[in-house]
């Protein structure tokens, strides 16, 4: 029983992290329908730049976080305006190839510039682990979970409660109609892509303070993020949270009671089953076709 409680806690924490890592992709893949294979590299860059800002330049975590996220927003904006924009409407293949090229470029340029060693972003919070009965947690993990919740809520509010959010939703429902009604859709696309990039990078930097950052992690992050987005339903923020938690919990229990060597299979099998039986994702009420 104690064991199950600890698995539950582990699953919820990793689930929150999965949701956080996938947030950016929820926007870019879920809403914009850009199959973005550079997502993991944006995440990785958040961590590596975070390391540069804190460990190399000596900034404190909060300042560094703001700077890194802003810089990544600019990068995302530029990527969309100068690259994705040119292939928009050419089908999935062009964007897939473009983002694969971008991910190869970013991963290897980072490897070249920052070196292959794992990089540690100093954690903003340290301290003894907390024991809640039989369950162990740490402050930095709890803080990261809290930040995840804040980011998810923030992104949700931006999309659903602001003017730009309304413009975004209009653009992704019908870009032509949105354009006709005076929305400058190319800006909306770029802003959404930039927002997605910023979310990916903030996840990368936060998690680099708990784990570590390394140039080569992007591929794995992308894969998990796609799983989370599909589980939760494309483009749905509550779905992304649910998807992350489901993945985290099922991995925790599979790893706990079956084996950790095969734990990655859980997510992919769930993706196959869900796409077969509920292709819109578990929680998507949106009937819009893919």
């Amino acid at each position: 029983m104690n064991l199950a409680l600890q698995f539950l806690a582990n699953g919820l924490v990793t689930g929150a992290f999965y949701a956080l890592s996938a947030l950016g992709l929820t926007l870019i893949f879920g809403l914009m329908r850009v199959v973005n294979f550079a997502h993991g590299e944006f995440f990785m860059l958040g961590g590596v730049l975070g390391w540069v800002a804190t460990a190399v330049l000596g900034l404190d975590f909060a300042t560094a976080f703001v700077l890194v996220v802003a810089a990544m927003g600019v990068l995302g904006w530029l990527v969309d305006r100068f690259m994705i924009e040119r292939v928009r409407g050419h089908g999935e293949e062009s964007t897939i190839l473009l983002t694969i090229g971008l991910s190869i470029f970013l991963a290897n340029a980072t490897l070249y510039l920052a070196g292959p060693a794992p990089m540690k972003v100093p954690a903003p919070l340290t301290g003894k682990p907390l024991f809640l009965g039989p369950v162990v947690l740490t402050k930095s993990r709890l803080a990261a979970v809290a930040v995840s919740v804040v980011l998810v809520l923030g992104a949700y509010l931006v999309i659903h409660r602001t003017r730009i959010g309304r413009a975004m939703r209009a653009t992704f429902q019908d870009a032509m109609a949105a354009k006709l009604s005076g929305i400058r859709t190319e800006r909306i696309f770029a802003a959404t892509f930039a927002l997605g990039t910023m979310l990916a990078a903030s996840a990368g930097m936060l998690l680099a303070s708990i784990y570590s950052a390394q140039a080569s992690v992007g591929g794995l992050v992308s894969l998990k993020a796609f799983v989370v987005v599909i589980l939760g339903g494309m483009g749905s923020f509550p779905g992304a949270i649910a998807g992350g938690l489901i993945l985290g919990l099922s991995e925790a229990f599979w790893g706990g009671y079956v084996s950790t060597g095969t734990v990655d299979i859980v997510g992919f099998v769930m993706v196959i089953l869900i796409l077969l039986f509920r292709p819109r994702g578990l929680f998507s009420l949106n009937a819009q076709r893919a």
Binding site: L3, A117, F131
Partner: protein, 378 residues
């Protein structure tokens, strides 16, 4: 047209090698993973190898000929590694190959080396059966997991007072090999195995695995993990308040690892073929020049690259020739004084005679607690 030029180039280089051999560099090919998830370890090997080459050339090379190291990225993938090997052999005309880190990649270029009758030396690949394939051109200047286990299982069981152990390792050939060998030897010594499981390379969350280990209440936890996975795992083990003694294999006796792991590294044991704190003059000099070149202490992979290049260079020197067959024969008679002891090869090409050490990380330093020669049995 390109063909003609190639032929000309080949002819020209053949002439030069015949006539003015004195200044012609001796080429050695080095294939390591320089990109992807094992790049960190691969680049450490390259650092050590380059240092060895520089020292050799500073001493005037081999018989007056400089040693030229040509490094290629094999990405630890069999197909890419074969590409790199063909390129080094055919285009660069290297005399010897060193590589290719992952056992899978090394296994893929062993037939290539055999076909071209070119010596192939690995300083890393640990999969036991590589030296059992009857490949005359293959030499392993490294320990296997079986040899490490045999060297330290008894010491560990006795000194750490182990009665039960949980075994975890990264889910690849190296991790599974380490778990298999150590669990077998320790079980034979009467140590109970409470749990065996694996995790994927690049995993970040070990809480689930650690929860199970904590519930199994072993005295010791054996871990086969490299720097990134290992450092995260140890930190989380400390967070969870795991009391069991942690020991294992992996490049843990390095500054990077200790820095990444922080105080969670304190007190753990690692069985390694090399640590920068090994006593002796040869090692002191090696550590000094490594620190001068790279501003850090060498770890097991830096030493592996350093040793492999030195073994090859000495063989070429003894052979007094860059002919593959002569080098192969000279390699078989290797007698090399390394920072970590004395390397010789068995008839099957397995190195023995050098020392492996059991280190404990104390005060952010790897302290040698036991030394044992690696003896290749039958």
């Amino acid at each position: 047209m390109g063909q003609k030029r190639l032929l000309l180039a080949a002819a020209a280089s053949a002439c030069m090698a015949g006539a003015a051999g004195a200044a012609e560099p001796i080429k050695v090919g080095l294939i390591e993973p320089l990109s992807g998830s094992v790049a960190y370890n691969g680049q450490s090997v390259v650092e050590g190898a380059k240092l060895a080459a520089k020292e050799i050339n500073d001493r005037g090379g081999i018989d007056g000929r400089p040693l030229e190291l040509i490094v290629e990225d094999g990405q630890c993938a069999p197909a890419n590694t074969v590409n790199a090997a063909e390129k080094l052999i055919q285009n660069d005309r290297v005399s010897v190959l060193i590589g290719a880190f992952c056992s899978s990649a090394t296994a893929a270029i062993m037939p290539v080396a055999d076909k071209y009758k070119l010596p192939l030396v690995t300083g890393v690949s640990s999969k036991a059966d590589l030296t059992e394939q009857g490949n005359r051109y293959f030499f392993r200047a490294a320990e296997t997991d079986a040899l490490l286990a045999r060297a330290f299982a008894k010491i560990m069981a006795r000194d750490l007072k182990l009665k039960s152990v949980a075994y975890i390792g990264v889910n690849d050939d190296w991790g599974r090999g380490g778990v298999a060998e150590f669990s077998r030897d320790l079980t034979e010594l009467g140590v109970k195995s409470t749990l065996v499981d694996y995790f994927d390379h690049g995993s970040t969350d070990f809480y689930t695995l650690l929860t199970r280990i904590r519930a199994a209440e072993p005295d010791g936890v054996f871990v086969a993990a490299e720097t990134q996975d290992g450092s995260i795992l140890l930190k989380q083990a400390k967070e969870m308040g795991l009391e069991a003694k942690i020991f294992g294999v992996g490049s843990w006796a390095t500054e990077d690892f200790i820095k990444l792991t922080g105080e969670a590294a304190e007190g753990i044991y690692a069985a390694v073929p090399y640590a920068s704190t090994i006593p002796g003059d040869t090692n002191r000099k090696f550590v000094e020049s490594y620190a001068k070149a790279y501003r850090k202490q060498p770890g097991k992979y830096g030493a592996a690259g350093y040793n492999a290049v030195n073994i090859v260079a000495q063989a070429i020197d003894r052979a007094d020739s860059t002919k593959a067959e002569a080098i192969r024969e000279a390699l078989a008679k290797t007698d090399y004084e390394a920072p970590n002891g004395h390397y010789r090869f068995t008839p099957k090409g397995q190195a023995y005679g050098f020392s492996a050490v059991l280190v404990q990380l104390q005060g952010a330093k790897p302290v040698v607690v036991a030394t044992s020669p690696v003896e290749a049995g039958q």
